[in-house]
Every structure is written in C-alpha cells, then in structure tokens.
C-alpha cells in the first residue's frame, strides 16, 4: 500500500516538474508564422492603418457633411485667377477648384479607392492564379509536353512583366475607353503575370516535395494531387502578394488618373483622380493635392507593411 502511494506521488511529482520545462517540438509552420506575425510591430501598424481605412471607406459616405458633387461654393473659388479657399469651419479641407467640399470628397473617395484596389487586385489574382495553376500543374505533372506548355506560358508572362506596367495599363485603357471598370481592369491586368509566376513558382517547389512524390507513388489522380496536395500548400506566398498588390493597385490607379485615364465620372470622387486634378493647382493650393496624396500613401503603406510582415513571418530565412 505504501509502495503504491510512493509510486503514485513519484509520478505526480515527475509530471509536475516536467510541466515547468517547455517542450519545444512540433509547432507547425503556420502556428509559428502566426506567432511571429502577432509579435511583429510592422504587422500591427499595418493592420491598424488598414482597419482605419476600411472603416472610413465604409462609413465615409454617410458621415460626409456634403454631397461630393455639390458645387455649393462655386462662386467663392476662382481657379482662373489662382484664388482658392483653404481650411475653414464647415469645410475642414477647404474647397476644390469647382467649389466643392474637399473633406466630403475625401471621405467618399476612400470607398472608391478601396473598391478600385480590391477589385483590380482580385482580377489580377484570379486570372493570374488560373494561368499559374495551369502551367504549374503542366510543369509538375504534365511530363515533356507539359513542360513545353509551361515554358511557352512563362515566356509570355516574362514579356508581360518586361513591359512597363504603366504602358500596359495605358494601352488597355486605350482599347476599353474610359470608365471605372477600365481602370480596374487596366490595373488588374498588370498584376496577372506577377500572380501567375508566383503561384507557378511555389507549385514547382511543392511539386518536387516528398509528399507529392508520395502521392504520385500512391497513384493518386493528377487533378486530385494538384487540388488536394500542391495548391493548398502553394497559397501562402499568393496571399502575401495579394496584400502587397492592393498597395500597388492603389498607386497604379493614381498614376493612371495622372495620365488622364482615371475614372471620369465626377459623381464618384477617387483619391487618385482628386490628386491628379489638384496637382494642376499645386502652387496655388498645395493642400488640395496633399489630402488625397497622404490618403494614398498611408493606405498603400498599411497594405505594404502588413504584406511584408506576413512575408517575413512565413519565410523562416528572414527570422533572426
């Protein structure tokens, strides 16, 4: 009886002691990544910025004091004499060259900007991913012919990449004529090769990995291998890229507007368009350009920060 109790509390004591030393084995890559992500300041800042932006984008139109198109103070500004109205009570960001309330336009513009960013990113992502998957799959499982296909596709994505993205966008816009959708498509198209290459790349890596070989050895059907094995494991870099693309999309859109290819409809102000229009009066009324510019920069920064943080978190090499 004594021996029993002895043995028992021996075990208990042992167990208890073993709790104290941490067991450092078997934390999965994802869990590790998430831990690192939560630790990183970059990610935190990025997330906050994005959150703020999204909130503004969502509620902006409702809290905007005036209609973005109302030329309420049309008589007060004289662009042809370089006379503007800066900050004043009621018009916190002043008036634009058509006597509209810049603050209201800025609030409403946030939503448009977000919209442009997200949609064009999605265009790039979806199309790019499709291409990427095709050639990735072809390369990993398609055998000789597959690799042919793959090289052809990649050659063209190469060329697309080599073309100045902006000119690509401009020429797309030239074909489609001016509209909001044009901007989205033009910007999206530029992203396509990026996603395609990326996804293909990581699929090739995965394709070479042991578990895929194993799956092949087990004689799984190719489609299943791609869908169930390779793809899920290739996604993380794509997610990172998507975040980063949101930033580039917003900037590219601004550039397009500067080149006069922005969304033409004045009813829906968009930061890029606002900036492009305001820069004409930069020396008379710089602030008019600064508000949208700052909006763009901060937002883009937010997405970039988060994206970079995610990349670092997922890439053990960059750990230190």
């Amino acid at each position: 009886m004594t021996t029993v109790t002895k043995k028992a509390d021996k075990i208990d004591r042992l167990a208890e002691l073993m709790q104290t030393t941490e067991v450092t084995s078997g934390a999965s890559l994802w869990r590790e990544a998430m831990r690192r992500l939560r630790a990183s300041k970059m990610a935190a800042i990025g997330a906050v910025v994005i959150a703020a932006f999204v909130v503004i984008a969502l509620i902006g139109p409702w809290i905007a004091p005036y209609a973005p198109t109302a030329q309420t103070w049309r008589g007060d500004v004289f662009p042809n004499r370089g006379e503007f109205v800066g900050m004043r009570s009621g018009n916190w960001f002043g008036l634009d060259h058509l006597g509209r309330d810049v603050f209201s336009r800025w609030l409403v513009g946030a939503r448009q900007t977000l919209l442009v960013g997200v949609v064009s990113m999605l265009i790039g992502l979806v199309v790019g991913a499709l291409i990427g998957v095709c050639s990735g799959a072809a390369a990993t499982l398609g055998g000789r012919a597959g690799q042919r296909v793959d090289t052809v596709i990649m050659r063209f994505t190469d060329i697309m990449l080599s073309l100045p993205s902006l000119l690509l966008a401009v020429s797309v816009a030239a074909v489609l004529g001016q509209s909001l959708t044009t901007v989205m498509i033009a910007v999206g198209v530029v992203q396509i090769p990026v996603f395609a290459r990326l996804l293909r790349g990581s699929m090739l890596v995965q394709g070479g990995s042991d578990y895929v070989l194993a799956a092949k050895a087990l004689g799984l059907r190719k489609r299943r291998i791609v869908l169930t094995q390779i793809l899920p494991n290739s996604l993380s870099p794509v997610i990172v890229q998507a975040t980063l693309s949101l930033a580039t999309a917003i900037i590219e859109a601004a550039a397009l507007s500067y080149l006069g290819l922005g969304n033409p409809d004045p009813a829906i102000p968009e930061w890029g368009v606002m900036l492009a229009q305001a820069q004409r009066f930069f020396d008379n009324e710089p602030m008019m350009a600064v508000y949208p510019a700052v909006g763009i920069i901060i937002t883009a920064l937010g997405f970039t920060l988060l994206g970079e943080a995610m990349r670092e978190a997922l890439d053990p090499k960059l750990r230190g």
């Binding site: 042992l14 002691l17 104290t20």
Partner: protein
C-alpha cells in the same frame, strides 16, 4: 597545467517573449597539451553550443554566457573581441560539421586558405599560395596546385573536409575543436579523416576537443571523455574506465544501446526510452530522471552532486549509479 580549463560554463538563450532556454548548464572539463578530450551526448545536449561558446561564435544578442574558460591563462569568455580574433585561427582553430555549407561557395579553396596565412602569418602572394598547396598536400589532397583554383562544389565530400582541416591547422594552432567532423561523411572517409586528425595531434602535440555523438569515434580517439546530458556533464572519465564501467544510468544506457559482438546471442539491445525532450530542469533534480528506470524520489530533489563512487577521477552525477553487484550487496 591544462591548456584549456572550462569551469561551470553555462549558455542561456534569451528570446524576448519566450522563456529562457538553457543550452549549457554548468559544464566543466580540462584539456591538456597533446590530449584528446571528447564531449559525447545525443544531439541537443549542448555539446556544439559549448564549442561555439569557446570560439566566441555565438551571437552577441540574445545569449547569456556564464562561468570561465581559461585558455593559456586567458579567459576566452571575457577577452577583448580583437584579441579573440587574433588567437582564433592561429592558436585556437575549429573544424565544422558540414564541410559543404561551411565553405564559401563563391570563393576558390585557395583563397579561403591563403586568407588565413595572410591574416596570421603575414604571408603574401606566391609564398602564401605555396604554403596553401603544401597544406592541402599535408591533409592528403592530391594535385593541390589545381585544387587551389577550384571551388567547393567541385570537390568531393572527403576532400572538402580535408580542406577545412587544412584551414584549421594552417597556423599550427595549439588547440583544435572538432565539431562532429565526420558525421557528414561516409564510413570509409570517416576513418581516413579520423586517422588524419590523430596524426596531426601526435605530430604537433595539438590539444583536440572532439565533439561527437558517435561512441565509436570516442573509443578510437579520445583520452578523456565527458558525457553530456541536457547541458551538464553526467559522467567524465578516462576512455577505458568509461567503456568498461559506465556508471551513470545514461552513459550505461548509451553503451547498452550499441550492439556488441561480445554480447551473448539473443540478448536484446537496451535502448533508452523517450527522447531528450522529456526532461526536467537540472535545478529540480536529475534531468535524466524521466527516462531513467532507476530513479527514486531522491533524484527529484535538486541537482545531484558529482561523486566518485567507483574510482578516483571517474566522476558521476547520480544519486543511485550503476555499480557492480558485489558492492551493491555490501552497501545494502
């Protein structure tokens, strides 16, 4: 008087947001001129960290080092970085585990050797090149002149390791630290490399600290052996003593877990159960206790002391060591 005497060396990794993890927890041992000392233990027991600590190659940030390591009258752990740079490679050299990754892929072998000669022996140009060639020749690399111009990826595994050794001995150091020098190589090469090391030690009277998990290597090479477990020496003794009378249950287990020809047929191998991860902190008791089939309540009360239950100079850190039956009966 020992050339290197390590005393209560401890290394703790401190990452913010995580618990400190103790890699080396008070290791002590001496190495005398011309002596070969082994640090043995399964991976994760802190032997490599010990070597890096001695070389001063641990990152400055996130690491806490305690204890002393006196090399030739100087404490390696506290000496000035510049002075350390001076003796590194010249008096105290190291051979690393994986020869491929340990050589710079984009720099010719020759340069990687001559740079040491330039640094420590003030040799230049042709002279340095000659010496380098001679070194390669000495470690048994054929056609050294050609090899000098080649890049690591152009050499075979064995040759790479030889090249590394050539670098280590380039300045005839007084002490060599070899960290698993053979694990990356296949058996026949292993033997050659070990042979080479032995020669060097014998010829130059160089002290050698041999870090390995391979008892075979130890048996073949070492005079003194320290068995490490979870960052502490659990048993240290002369080679012969250790192999004939392994006294700490862990050491006993280690030896028990390698097949022996002289064992009676049909007798099973006795592997140690569990892994190094199931352990408790030395502070609380014997870290090995969880895997030990001899442990008692006493094992769980504070760090066991080093004792010499069997013979002078044969130190064991265990409250109930493995002793020959006869004595056991006596004590009982």
């Amino acid at each position: 008087m020992a050339l290197l005497s390590v005393d209560e060396l401890s290394v703790t990794f401190t990452a913010k947001g995580r618990k400190d993890s103790i890699a080396v927890d008070g290791v002590s041992f001496d190495v005398a001129e011309g002596q070969v000392v082994g640090l043995v233990g399964e991976s994760g027991c802190g032997k490599s960290v010990t070597s890096l600590a001695l070389m001063g190659l641990l990152p400055a940030k996130g690491v806490r080092i305690g204890g002393r390591a006196v090399f030739d009258g100087q404490d390696l752990l506290t000496m000035s970085p510049q002075y350390r740079r001076d003796i590194r490679g010249s008096q105290l050299a190291m051979i690393f585990q994986d020869p491929l990754s340990s050589l710079n892929p984009v720099v010719p072998i020759g340069v990687q050797i001559t740079e040491i000669l330039e640094r420590h022996r003030g040799m230049k140009g042709e002279a340095a090149r000659k010496e380098a060639a001679h070194l390669l020749d000495r470690v048994g690399i054929p056609d050294p002149a050609r090899r000098l111009k080649e890049f690591p990826h152009q050499l075979s595994g064995g040759m790479r390791q030889r090249a590394l050794i050539a670098m280590a001995v380039a300045c005839a150091p007084r002490m060599l630290i070899a960290d698993e020098p053979t694990t990356a190589l296949d058996v026949t090469i292993q033997a050659q490399i070990l042979e080479l090391l032995k020669e060097l030690v014998d010829q130059e009277g160089t002290a050698l600290l041999m870090i390995t998990h391979d008892l075979g290597v130890v048996a073949g090479l070492c005079d003194e052996v320290n068995v490490l477990y979870a960052g502490r020496a659990v048993e240290s003794a002369g080679r012969r003593d250790l192999f004939t009378y392994p006294t700490h249950p862990y050491a006993h287990g280690l030896l028990g877990s390698i097949p022996r020809l002289d064992a009676p047929r049909g007798e099973p191998l006795r592997p140690i159960r569990g892994s190094i991860n199931d352990r408790i902190a030395w502070a609380d008791g014997c870290a090995f206790a969880p895997r030990c089939d001899r442990y008692t309540m006493e094992c769980l009360t504070g760090t066991p002391e080093l004792t010499e239950p069997r013979a002078a100079g044969h130190q064991v850190r265990c409250v109930n060591p493995v002793l020959p039956k006869s004595k056991a009966e006596v004590s009982a």
